[in-house]
Amino acid sequence: PHLRMFNEEFQTCKVEGAWALVDNKHLTVQVTNDPVINSGDATATSKLTVIIKKNEDCASSQFITYTAQTGHLPGSFSLGQTHYGPERSVEVIEKEPGKSVVIYLRYIDTTIKVQQIGRYFTFAIKMPEGVLNSSEISDKLELCVQGCPINERINYKQYFSEVQRTNKHSKMALSKALKMCRDASVVDFYFDSCVFDLLTTGDENFTAAAYQAWQDLIELNPELRQTQDNRTELPIVPSSAS
């Protein structure tokens, strides 16, 4: 999957299996990434678990769990409740049944957005800086904080170059992928990711996922400005155009 870290760095990773995105004294978010059907090595997020830690005053005297799995994006927490704490201090809001939910934790002003597009999930979180730095153990792995381990990272530029040179391993023609992603109006890292995903899987749902991830970013922080260039566009010229 593609990761936008809290420090605004972008990475594309393998990270197959279960990984923690966030793990601090208030909450843990864990994802499970599985191989994408019929696409070789590509992996995408098929399960997501949010654990809101015990907070007697503002959440619950027990852990609160939310779990989404492919084909099941519930509109409530695991015990069936949609809110906890005084004045709905913790709340899950179903934006679009089975497709989009938002979890809001008022006492730490944290918003989590989970969407299912095709078989896989997109995840976005917005959190105050002070809360984000509340990890009890400083060296535990949180993908959103430290990023993916080096051996899990994918050099997509190298991948694009190989596709351009050999046209091997590609599930879709580069020219078609570039056109689809341009038509989807995604930009910057999200454009690169869109092209990468189409080349590796041929699954057009990933175009929508890239667009949605970009929209989530803007929705959660309307003032955010993306400054990166369309990196895919610069080094690669589709063979048909050349």
């Binding site: 999957p1 005053d57 005084p86 997109t122 995840f123 105050p128 995903d197 996922a209």
Partner: protein, 118 residues
């Protein structure tokens, strides 16, 4: 919904009303020492609100206490003193209410993270 706990606390606060400290504080706030006990009771009940909101005794006690506060001309100022059950001393300002406590009030610098695609 633990009203008994609040009643016990109110009793302790009432017992302490004759102390010099409470008398001095009440005089400073220009009110009767009973106000400190009543505010302590109300403060305790308000914290139980989410567990007790449908309890008739709870609602009756809360309404009765508010009437008593008016009768004693007690200040409803959230900064006014209450009896602290932990230290068994009078304290002020009052601790934040649960509702205020559960709304993040830190510096609003936000960070974002996202995961998508394959």
């Amino acid at each position: 919904c633990d009203i008994v706990h609040c009643q016990t606390l109110f009793s302790s606060a009432k017992d302490a009303e004759k102390s010099t400290e409470i008398k001095k504080l009440a005089a400073l706030q220009r009110e009767s020492p009973r106000c400190i006990s009543l505010r302590t009771y109300i403060d305790c009940l308000v914290k139980q609100k989410r567990f007790c909101h449908s309890d008739i005794t709870f609602n009756g006690n809360l309404a009765g206490l508010k009437a008593k506060m008016n009768r004693h001309k007690c200040s409803a100022d959230p900064e006014a003193s209450i009896f602290d059950p932990e230290t068994m001393q009078v304290t002020g300002p009052r601790p934040p209410s649960v509702d205020r406590m559960c709304s993040y009030s830190g510096k609003p610098i936000y960070k974002q993270c996202g995961l998508f695609g394959d």
